[in-house]
Symmetry: C2
Subunit: 163 residues, 2 copies
């Protein structure tokens, strides 16, 4: 699955469908249960390429007839994170769908401060750099949080027009 986060004209329904289909397959293969709540939470997260807060998901859960107390959504999010289907963005306290969930990995995110679109990059290059710095001081890396705030191409264009 390509990452289309910054391509404004893309067919986003396709992103959603593909993410859900992939999630179903992954969970089937791993014999994990993608229950209705979990699938709904994943779908809600995939409504956009923007990280979404846990509490923003609750109303939709309520509308769908589920319990909408915080633990419900946090449990679903925990499961989805464990399966690598969503990432948590620590600097925003929010969650975003992972476009490459088939293999466990650390994310490296470009987050637009204006439209909040978030693109997940290949973490490889940054990881290599970090690994080198870490080795120099004898530190063993286990987990990386790399979150970059800035302006996406679309919003740069907008700013140059609007002033």
């Amino acid at each position: 699955m390509d990452n289309l986060a910054f391509e404004s004209g893309h067919d986003h329904q396709h992103c959603i469908d593909q993410a859900l289909q992939q999630a179903r397959q992954i969970c089937r293969e791993r014999q994990q249960r993608l229950t209705p709540i979990r699938e709904l939470v994943l779908k809600l997260i995939w409504q956009s390429h923007r990280p979404i807060g846990a509490y923003e998901l609750l109303p939709a859960l309520a509308e769908a007839g589920f319990n909408s107390a915080p633990p419900t959504v946090y449990r679903a999010l925990e499961f989805l994170q464990e399966q690598g289907l969503v990432h948590r963005i620590a600097s925003l306290n929010a969650f975003v769908g992972c476009p490459h969930p088939e293999q466990a990995h650390q994310g490296c995110f470009l987050i637009c401060r204006q439209c909040h679109s978030t693109s997940e990059l290949d973490a490889g290059p940054v990881h290599a750099t970090l690994e080198q710095s870490a080795r120099a001081v004898g530190f063993t890396i286990e987990q990386e949080t790399v979150e970059v705030i800035g302006l996406c191409p679309n919003c740069q264009a907008g700013e140059s027009i609007d002033g």
Copy 2:
């Protein structure tokens, strides 16, 4: 100031003294007011090389005779962050002293999951890598959050002994 976070035998009082002295000088130069509360908060943060939560600072503020409601400490933290004297670690909701506050910069942190010691690296190499990846997709970087969890040299030694 060198970063001694992972050197267990170092004279930490020296770190504290130096950080405070440097802070006083920086604030004097910039005509910013390092008030008693702000200085105390900075000193408390520098009691260790571990990130500390805002609420953990409140009791010490109370003991020192200051108001110890959350806004007090958050205001001090805001000021210290603006002056580059402390960094916030988003993945931990905690704050750590900056060993190189003289020039504004983004941090790049190695955080030990066991002893919580945190070392701030030169963010240059990671920034260069990120900059390259970002340019490739037309993204303009404004702010970077790079926080690495793992095991520091000391705790690696400990783990290999203890099992």
